[in-house]
Amino acid sequence: MSVILLCVLSLVLAGSGTGLHGRNASVSHEYCVLGAGPAGLQMGYFLSRSQRDYIILERNAGPGSFFQIYPRHRKLISINKIYTGRRNKEFNLRHDWNSLLSDRPNLLFKRISQELYPNADDFPRYLSTFVKELGLKVKYGADIGRIKASDFNGNQGYILTDQNGVSYQCSVLLVSTGLWVPQQVDFLGSDLVEGYESIPTDPEEFKDQAVLILGKGNSAFETAQSILGRASRIHLYSPSPVRLAWQTHYVGDLRAVNNELLDTYQLKSLDGLVEGRLEDIAIVRREKDGGKRRTVTGQNLPGFHTDNFSLRQPYDRVVRCLGFRFNFSIFDGSARPPQSSGARGRLPGITAWYEGRGMPNMFVLGTAAHSRDYRMSAGGFVHGFRYTVRAVHKILEQRYHNIAWPATKLPISQLQSWILRRVNEASGLYQMFGVLGDIILLRGSYCEYLEEFPLQAVPQLSALSGQPLTDHGLLVLVMQYGLNRTDTLGPGRAESEWTKAWRSNFLHPVLYYYNTLPTDKDMRQRPVGWPLPRPESVHHMVEDFLTEWDQPISHSQPLRRFLEHCLQTDLRAFYAESCFLLSLTSRTPPLFCRQGYLRKQGIVGNSHLWQHAREAGLMADHHGHITPGHDTSVSEYLKHADAAVVSTMNFDL
């Protein structure tokens, strides 16, 4: 119903928009993507592939303009690992953090740069190539200053107005504006502080200066690192201690690429880290030539009272490196999403399926959508949000075009190998750990496999995916880091025993089995630190040093047994001969025989393999018979007779 309405609507709007390009001109599109950064272009690609009516609006003259300026010291810290020893394209994306997703095998970032940490200028270049080769519809120079909600035939739509007064009527608004507004904190003297966005990048400018940097994130350390050889003293001040990405597994925390200052701090080379509330500080300019005394006196300074106060020495410069926030100001009251409850309210609040809270038909993509997995996963970074964008696109297809979430139908006997395949190559699960998960809808003898669904939206699975639910239950495959209770580099940091897999610390696959779909309430009350509610049963596949989960004893067999438990059926594989025997001697042979052998696709094997199976006692041996009929019982008897002989030997000597 709504699909038809939308189509009609877009026709009408398109008609009214043609021809006029001056003032009060109006253009309408089914989808408006705001911002031609990586997230906007990624969405553009999916919209273009599904041949939707869309436009990407960009205020600057080229894509990815954020990266024209940032990072200020021009070194991207997203890993561009071009050699992995593998040719699996999906797997290689696990180690390519800059490329966007497309069906062009050569449209990868490695075409632009071979550096592990590429130059920031390469990224806009890559994005331009992406736009050009895929022919994405981007309108540059359209600076949207105002967004307001409007009713389009009963559905909420959005009207965007640019600097020239051109208005864009959008049935669906996709906000991928990124984070542009530098985060500021108000305190006495905050006007004396320089911002990361405007500091000079030439280290010489900091020659022999004492520098206080507010913040302990990557931008703070990046700044510190660049001036390390010139500044006399660098102190980093912020409320929380440094969090190291290699300890927390969160790439937004301090990356080792930028952490030289930790060395100079710990080796007492005049640099240091200090914790304290930003609101609690005051900065006062000291006039060099004994100018008029201002309100600050010696007694106001902490050093007056505590003689060893850490920050008692004056600084030549104070630099603010506190990150960025979402620009709420372009949204009219009618269209403004609320502030997120997490991430200090810097981001818009969104639902589990990335729709603005209380803002139907407005979706937030990219870094701005990081409130869903802030400080937890990779949704704020290109290598993460390229997958959430893909997920959102699938949701759009279902909601507005009634095209269900793509599902692969698999016979149950193939499920284990399919899971192993995903676990061993899927990049979306790997990058968006704990956020996107594969859903397996069990349907009796077969199942439907849905890839990379937003886990928090699982209670709305049916409505969002368009896949009907049955009462056979479902499995969810997630990649997760573990409890992380041990020293990251210390002994016992890795678990190798599959029976203790739930104590794995590194990224490893976890399967959740539910009889029925978890409800919103279940989801809200899920165990602390878990991505999903407590399931009927759970299976952890033990972490692997090589991230190859393909070993028969530690990985495949425990997985098979978990699936057997969930499905309450024997999932072992049998050679055709065993199936032959079982098909004639039981009314329902095992699943593998039913879905393979009895469909004339039995796995025959050869005598060499049968020999192994017989020696292992797993396959019936009927070839060794010499005298028909009595062999087994005779050999059985001999075996026991032996035992009896042994035991009586104790008596007579």
Binding site: R87, E90, F91, P239, E275, R277, S341, G342, R372, R375, M376, L420, R421, N424, E425, G434, W502, K521, R524, Q525, P527, V528, G529, P531, P533, R534, S537, V538, Q551, P552, P558, R560, R561, H565, D570, R572, A573, Y575, S578, F580, R587, L591, L598, K600, V604, G605, H612, A613, A616, L618, M619, H622, H625, P628, G629, H640, A643, S647, N650, F651
Partner: protein, 803 residues
């Protein structure tokens, strides 16, 4: 006999005064001992080394224990008193002897009697040699049973290893209770199986009580009750007391006032309230329950009409655990109560089970999948993929268009089924190597995932056949060397073969055309149409293409086609089937239908009417869903077998077996047939054997009486008898569910145990996510410089991991 010993024990008690019960004999006292006729266990030694020292310690302890049974433990120092025969020879030092008077009952190697348990058990076993029966086989046990019926009860002990504490406990019990019960000792696993132990390979000791005394008829079996506790003296004693206790006790008191022996033995008691009206029924229920719970729970029936019974009417049952108060409940079903006790109240047993499970988990590292295990055993074997081209994204397209036929296997290296099949695949490739126009290739989907998704391969392994300018054809046959090899060779034949004259038709049907394919399949199927303009021709051609590799099809669309069906009851278009040269053709009319329907029709007419079942062809025949009339013939093609085949063929052609699928298995070519017979009948009778098995409709298997000759009329009579229910089934086909083969390894349960709140849902009123925690983090006090310590408590969220 043991009373005698006990008296002897009293004597020895008065005569022995010293603290250590180990006596040291001189030659004098030894000679005196030889005359007393008492039983003594004597060790002769001359010096002490560390091994002997240990043994002496154990000997001293055993002196204490054996004293209770009137057996003296003695050592003789040969260096002081050289006693003839014993203090000399090589066996000195390593032997100990059991004497009754001067007679040596038995000598022991000191390795056998290595510790106090071993000494006591072996000595007692020797002394009780006539009382305790030693059995090896179920048959021997049954003999003991039948001798004991209506006479005495039997205690059967299974001791996996002699000389361990369990053995001692059993022997000590036998010593005490030997006159009351017949004791039986067994060591092998045969008896274990007979007693219904599920896992006879475990080295666990067992004890059963066989109630033979009370059997009413000598033909009845003795009801047996297993002891479910570890074999030790106290448990055996308790268990025997329980076995003696009445099955059901009656009382007219309130439960808490009833005194039964079970309470004193630390065993739970179940109370059932009986009413006058239902007395009979209640009594029967109590009996059933008591039988099921015997040895674990005592059962008391309380008559409600008694004046001292005050229990509320809303309960009909109660139970009392040792050292606890009576708990009342309402009994709904006998099974419910048994379940309650077995699964909940007798938890301490469960605990022991868990310990066993602990060991069981180590077995979990053994592969229990025959395909995985056999492939795993080959893990050091490098596959020789020389004859198979490994395709990559770059080479795929070129390769599949270069040859007449490119066979491509899509596989995963870590998938056992794929790796098992790849061995067959290489065998086919080796066999076809050098053949023009055919190439076998493989795609490793773990690496070239894009090729596999592009070709919509969702099942592994998959074999696709590529021909230039044609859509890929899925290989749907058995994944084995023979089937694939035949398929590829038959794929090279153009299908359908267009025949242009009656002479060609003859040559086609008689196998002269494609004679070299005769060994692959002798069957030829011919489509007959009156003209090439017939509507059905295109459909037939399409069907033929779909059947490429499976069936050799000919097409004769010609005005002469008419003469091939002349005189037959079928009009054109028609289908002519030649099963092999020289055999009369079968003819079917060919309805106009879609190619896929034609395919199934052709596949159906191709089926043999009296097939030899093989591993590779069974699925085609099982699909028919008919009961099987299955003839098993031996390896050597005996005349008897030939005759039996002919007899059935005769019945078949007379149309009397239409409701069956008559078929046969040649045990020489299909040796697994023997296992089928064993499963059906429990044994393999002399061949040939005729069996009727109704796989789909019933569970019974009938055996044609071996004494009757396998003649058409006898067979028919037998079938008749079976259908009228006059034949006894010879075996059953179980409708077993194929559940998980091993118990579930429950991570959640382990988490709950090791980190109780880790996997628990949050309480409803708690705030969602850890965002709150964030806030708190942000408001740290200035100047605090500690780095976050990894939390020792799993339920405390890591700063980064909440959402």
């Amino acid at each position: 006999m043991c009373i005698v010993y006990l008296i002897a024990f009293l004597f020895s008690l008065t005569s022995e005064q010293c603290s250590s019960k180990l006596i040291e004999d001189s030659s004098q006292s030894f000679m005196e001992r030889m005359h007393t006729g008492k039983t003594s266990f004597i060790y002769f030694g001359n010096h002490v080394n560390p091994t002997i020292k240990l043994f002496m310690e154990q000997l001293e302890m055993s002196a204490d224990a054996l004293q209770d049974y009137g057996i003296s433990v003695v050592k003789v120092n040969c260096s002081e008193d050289a006693i003839a025969n014993y203090c000399t020879g090589e066996k000195l030092m390593t032997k100990a002897y059991l004497f009754r008077g001067s007679e040596v009952l038995r000598s022991f190697d000191i390795d056998t009697v290595f510790d106090v348990n071993a000494i006591v058990s072996h000595v007692l076993f020797s002394v009780l040699f006539n009382e305790v029966r030693y059995v090896h086989t179920p048959a021997e046990l049954l003999r003991v049973e039948s001798a004991a019926k209506q006479n005495s009860d039997i205690v059967v002990g299974h001791i996996p290893v002699l000389g361990l504490p369990e053995h001692r406990a059993l022997m000590e019990a036998a010593f005490v209770y030997g006159t009351k019960y017949q004791f039986v000792q067994t060591t092998g696993t045969l008896v274990l199986k007979h007693m219904g132990v599920v896992d006879p390979s475990s080295s666990q000791a067992w004890l059963w009580f066989l109630h033979c005394k009370g059997v009413s008829r000598r033909s009845d079996p003795c009801p047996s009750i297993p002891m479910r506790k570890p074999l030790n003296t106290i448990n055996i004693h308790t268990f025997l007391q329980l076995m003696e206790a009445p099955l059901v006790t009656e009382a007219v008191l309130d439960p808490s006032d009833v005194d039964v022996v079970h309470m004193h033995l630390g065993v739970p008691v179940l109370y059932l309230f009986s009413q006058l009206q239902t007395q009979q029924l209640d009594w029967a229920t109590a009996q059933t329950l008591a039988l099921q719970l015997r040895g674990e729970v005592g059962v008391v029936v309380i008559h409600r009409d008694g004046p001292n019974v005050k229990t509320s009417l809303k309960y009909n049952a109660a139970y009392r655990l040792p050292q606890e108060d009576v708990k009342y409940f309402t009994l709904n079903s006998a099974e419910g109560v048994v379940k309650l006790f077995k699964e909940e109240l007798l938890q301490e047993h469960k605990f022991e089970d868990e310990e066993e499970d602990e060991e069981h988990w180590s077995d979990l590292d053994i592969l229990d999948d025959e395909v995985s295990e056999s492939v795993y055993r080959d893990r050091d074997l490098m596959l020789d993929l020389e004859s198979v081209i490994e395709l990559t994204s770059d080479t795929f397209q070129i390769t599949v268009t270069q040859n007449d036929i490119t066979v491509v296997l899509f596989y995963f290296k870590w998938d056992a089924v794929c790796m098992a099949f790849i061995q067959s695949y290489i065998e086919v490739a080796d066999a076809l190597e050098g053949m023009n126009g055919v190439k076998l290739a493989a795609v490793n989907c773990g690496e070239w995932t894009d090729i596999c998704s592009d070709h919509n391969v969702t099942s592994f392994p998959t074999v696709l056949i590529y021909r230039p300018m044609a859509a890929a054809q899925l290989y749907k046959g058995m994944l084995g060397t023979k089937s694939l090899h035949r398929f590829i060779l038959l794929s090279l034949v153009s299908n359908p073969y267009l025949l242009s004259s009656s002479a060609e038709v003859m040559s086609f049907l008689e196998g002269d055309l494609y004679s070299k394919h005769m060994y692959l399949t002798p069957v030829r199927v011919l489509g007959l149409f009156s003209s090439t303009h017939d509507m059905g021709v295109t459909s037939f051609e399409e069907a033929a293409r779909l059947l490429r590799g499976e069936t050799i099809l000919g097409l004769f669309a010609h005005k002469e086609a008419e003469q091939w069906v002349e005189g037959l009851s079928v009009n054109l278009p028609a289908l002519l089937v030649s099963r092999s040269p020289g055999v009369p053709y079968e003819v079917y009319s060919l309805p106009s239908s879609s190619p896929t329907d034609l395919v199934s029709l052709i596949k159906q007419v191709e089926l043999d009417r009296f097939p030899e079942l093989t591993v590779e062809n069974l699925p085609w025949y099982l699909e028919l869903g008919k009961p099987l009339l299955l003839l098993f013939i031996g390896k050597e093609d005996s005349t008897e077998s030939m005759k039996a085949l002919a007899e059935i063929k005769q019945l078949l052609s007379s149309g009397q077996l239409d409701s069956f699928l008559p078929c046969w298995i040649h045990l020489g070519r299909t040796p697994v047939g023997r296992s089928i017979l064993e499963k059906y009948l429990g044994f393999v009778p002399p061949l040939p054997v005729l069996v009727m098995s109704r796989l789909k409709t019933g569970e019974e298997v009938f055996l044609f009486p071996p004494e009757r000759p396998l003649m058409a009329k006898n067979i028919l009579q037998w079938i008749h008898d079976v259908e009228n229910g006059q034949e006894q089934p010879a075996g059953l086909i179980p409708d077993g569910k194929w559940g998980p083969p091993v118990p579930f390894f429950d991570f959640l349960a382990i988490m709950d145990q090791e980190a109780p709140t880790y996997a628990a849902q949050r309480a409803p009123k708690m705030k969602t996510g850890g965002r709150e925690d964030h806030r708190e983090q942000k408001h740290g006090t200035p100047n605090q410089r500690q780095t976050p310590h990894p939390s020792p408590n799993p339920q405390a969220p890591r700063q980064h991991s909440e959402l």
